[in-house]
Symmetry: C3
Subunit: 354 residues, 3 copies
Amino acid sequence: MKLTVKEIADIVGGSIIGKTDTIITGVSGIKEAKEGEITFIANNKYRPLLKSTKASAVIVPMDINNTVEASLIQVENPSLAFAKIVSLVGPEPITFNPGIDKTAIIGKNVILGKNVSIQPYTVIEDNTEIGDGSIIGACVYIGHYTKIGKDCLIYPHVIIRERIKIGNRVIIHPGTVIGGDGFGFATVKGVHHKIPQIGTVEIGDDVEIGSNVTIDRARFDKTYIGNGVKIDNLVQIAHNVYIGENTIVVAQVGISGSTVIGKNVIIAGQAGIIGHITVGDNSIIGGKAGVTKDVPPNVHVTGFPAREKWEDMRIQAYSRRNPELVERIKRLEEKIDKMEKKIQEMYGEEPEDN
Amino acid sequence: MKLTVKEIADIVGGSIIGKTDTIITGVSGIKEAKEGEITFIANNKYRPLLKSTKASAVIVPMDINNTVEASLIQVENPSLAFAKIVSLVGPEPITFNPGIDKTAIIGKNVILGKNVSIQPYTVIEDNTEIGDGSIIGACVYIGHYTKIGKDCLIYPHVIIRERIKIGNRVIIHPGTVIGGDGFGFATVKGVHHKIPQIGTVEIGDDVEIGSNVTIDRARFDKTYIGNGVKIDNLVQIAHNVYIGENTIVVAQVGISGSTVIGKNVIIAGQAGIIGHITVGDNSIIGGKAGVTKDVPPNVHVTGFPAREKWEDMRIQAYSRRNPELVERIKRLEEKIDKMEKKIQEMYGEEPEDN
Amino acid sequence: MKLTVKEIADIVGGSIIGKTDTIITGVSGIKEAKEGEITFIANNKYRPLLKSTKASAVIVPMDINNTVEASLIQVENPSLAFAKIVSLVGPEPITFNPGIDKTAIIGKNVILGKNVSIQPYTVIEDNTEIGDGSIIGACVYIGHYTKIGKDCLIYPHVIIRERIKIGNRVIIHPGTVIGGDGFGFATVKGVHHKIPQIGTVEIGDDVEIGSNVTIDRARFDKTYIGNGVKIDNLVQIAHNVYIGENTIVVAQVGISGSTVIGKNVIIAGQAGIIGHITVGDNSIIGGKAGVTKDVPPNVHVTGFPAREKWEDMRIQAYSRRNPELVERIKRLEEKIDKMEKKIQEMYGEEPEDN
C-alpha cells in the first residue's frame, strides 16, 4: 500500500515539518532506509543519523524540529506511531485461513470457536476448548482439558500440557513448553522422590511469550501470568510463580518457585530470582542480577547479590579503588614506622613488640 | 476419592492431633486450601499460616503439636507423605493407553516391549528398542539404534538422536534434545572445522529431565547421567560430561565439556561450570556461581569465581565496607600529617619529601 | 574400515614414532581407548596419560617424541587430524536417503534442488526453496518464502519461520527456532503495544547452530549470522544482531538487540551482551561476563561489568585482600592513638576532639 506523508501524519496524529506530498512505499530502519521509505527515531543514540538517512520521511519525537532532507512527522511516541504505519505499508503478513487441516488430530469433546485455524500435524487432546479466531500452528500439542481463549496465535511446535488456561489475544512463539511438571522432590536418604505437580498454569489476556520458554505447572493451585505480561525467549518460570500485570521478562531470566512478581516490573536479561520471595510493583531488576531477598516496590536493583542500584554502583566504584587503598595503607605504615623510631629516639625506648 | 483423616494418617504412618473422622476430598497449598481439603507444611516459612488456613487437615513435621482448627497429622517427612496422598485424592491423572497410534512411524527392526504406548506423529527410526510399559508422547523423534528402558515417560516433542541409551523409569519433559552433537571444532587459520562427535549419551534409571534441556553426545565414548539424577528446565550439558548418582541440576545451569560431577551434588539455578574439572560428591554449587576449578567433596561454593561459601561471604561483606575503609584511611592520613608537623616542630626539621 | 598406522600417518601427513604396521580398527578417547584403537592428545592436561593408555596409536603434537608402548603419529593439529581418521574408522554414520517422505507436506511454488531429503511429518510452506543435497529432518517447519541453501543438515524439530535466508552447508540442531519475532514493545501508560517485527534473519555459509537456540527476526532489515559462525546450545540472539565471520558463541550466551559482533570473536558460556553496542574483531568475552559497553578489537574482557581481563583479575585479587586491609588499618589506628598520646604527653596537651 502507498501513502503520502500527509496521509501518514493524519493516521498517527502528527505534525509535519517539510514536504507533505511525498509518496511512501515502504518502511525500514534509519540506517537501511532508501528513498520512498519511512523510518523513525526513538532511541536518542540514532538522532545524529537524521541528517544522513536516505529515508523520505522520519517519525520523530516532539523535540526534534530541525529541517532536514526528509519530511519529519512529530508525534508523542514514535515507536508506537511507526508500528501503526508498518502494518499498512510493510511486507504482506503471513496469514493462516480458518479451518482444520485434515492431518490435525482432534480429540473427543473438543469445543472449537468460530474461524479457528488448526494447522497440519497438530494434536489436540480430549475435552479442550479453543476460542474464536485463534490460530494453532503446525505440530502444536494441546493437552487434555486445556482452554485457549479468542484470537490467540500459537506458533508451530508449542507444547501446552493438560488443564492449562490461556486468555485472549495471547501469542506464544515456537518451541515453548507450558505446563511441564514443577521441579519438586522429597529427598529421603539421598534419594529424590518425585512430588506430584497437580496444579496448572493460568495465563491472562494479551500475554506474549517468546521461543523455547518453559513455564512449569504448579505443585497445586496455579502458576500465574497476569494480563499484558511480555516474556522473551528461553525464560524459565518455575512452579507456583505469580507474575503481575504488564510485567516484562527479558531473555534467559529464571524465576524460582513460588516467587511473586508485582505489576509493571522489568526483569532484564539473564537475571535470576530465588524462590519464595516478593518483587514489588514497578521495580526494575538489572540484567544478570541475582535477587536473593524481597525487593520493595519502585526500586531498581542490580548486581549479585542484588542491591539498590546506587548502592551496587558505589560498591563497584570503591572496589576499583582497592589498588589505590593498598598503596595508601603501605605509605601510612612506612610513615608510622619512621615516626615511631623518632619518638623512641626522643624517649630513648625500646621498640614495642606489636 | 474420599478419605477420612484417620485413613490418611494410617496411609502415611502419622499421629493425629485433633478430629479423626473429618472427610477429605481434595489437596491444596496451605494458602489456597478450602474446607474439606488437606494440605501440609514443609518450609518453616509457612508455619504461621497454620492458624489461618481453611484446610480441614494439615500434614506437619513432628515438632508441630499445637491445637488448631484443622486436624494435624504428624510425620517425619511431610512433603513425601503429602505426595502419597495427592496421588489418592488429587485430580485424576492423564493416562495414555498402550498401543501404537496409526500415524506413528515405526522403522525396521524395532523392538517394542509389552504395553508400550506410542502417540500420534511420533517417528521411531530403525533398530531401536523401547522397554515394557514406556509411554512415548506425540511428535517424539527417536533416532537409529537408540534404546529406551521400561516404564519411561517421554513427553511430546522430545528429540532423542541415534545410539542413545536410556534406563528405566526415566521421565523426559517436552522439547528436550538428547544427543545433539558436542560443540567441538579444530581451528586452522581462523576457520573452524567440525570435529565429528561419534560418542553417545547414556542415561541411568530413575532420571528426570525437564523441558527444553540439551544434553550433547560425546566426542567419543559417552556423556553420562547417573541413576536418580534430576535435571530442571533449560539446562545445558556438554559432551563427555559425567554426572554421578542422585545429583540435582537446577534450571538454566550449564556444564561444560568433559567435566565430572560427583554423587549427590546440588547445582543451583544459572550456575556455570567450566570444562575438564571435577566437582566432588555431596558438594553444593550456589545459584549463579561460576565454577572455574575443581571443587572438593562436601563443600559449598558460591559466587564468581566460585569459592567456599564462607570465604565468598567474607569477601562480599568486606567489599561492602570499602566506603568506610576509605574514610578511615583518609582520617589516618590527616592525623599523620598533623603528627609529622608536630614532630618536625620538636626536631626543628624540614618536612620529608615522600 | 581397518587401517595400519602407516596408512593413517600418510592420510594425516604425520611422522611415526614406533611400530608402523599395527592395524587400527576403531577410535576413542585416551582414557577409554582399547587395544586396536587410535586416540589423540590435544589438551596438555592429558599428556601424562600417554604412558598408561591402552590405545595402539596416538596422534600427538610435534613436541611429543618420547617412546611409549603405543605408536605415535606427530602432526601440527592433532584434533583436526584425528577428526579425519574418525570419519574413516569411526562408527557408520546415520544417513538419510534423498526423497520426500509421503507424510511431508510441501506447499505451492516450492523449489526443491537435486537429492533433497525431506523426512516424515515435515511441513514446508508455500514459495520456499531448498538447495541441492540438503537434508530436512522429521517434523521440521519451514515458513513461507524461506530459502535454504545446498548441502544443509536441518535436524528434526527445527522451526524456521517465513522469509528467512540460510546459506550452504549449514547445520541446525533440533529444537532451534529461527525467525521468531524480536522482543519489541511501545509502552504507553504502562501497557505494552507490540511493535511489528517485519525484518528477517540471514544466515551465511558453513554456519552451525546448536539445539534449542533462538535467533529472532529483525524489527526491519535483518538479523545476520556471518559465514563460518558456530553457535552452541540454548543461545539467545535478539533482533537486528549482526555477527561477523567465524565467531564462536558458546552455550547459554545472550546477545541483546542491534548489537554488532565482529569477526573471529569468542563469546564464552553464559556471557550476556547488552543491546546497541559493538564488540570488535578477534576479541574474547569470558564465560559469564556481562558486557555493558563497546569492546575494542583484540581484547579479552571478563567479569561483570566486563573489563579487560588483567584489570578484572586485579580487582578480583585486591578484593580478596580486603580482610587483610581492614586488619592493617586497625593496627595503624591503634599505633596512631598511642603515638598521639605520647606526643600529647610530651607537649602536655589535651587530646584533640576529632
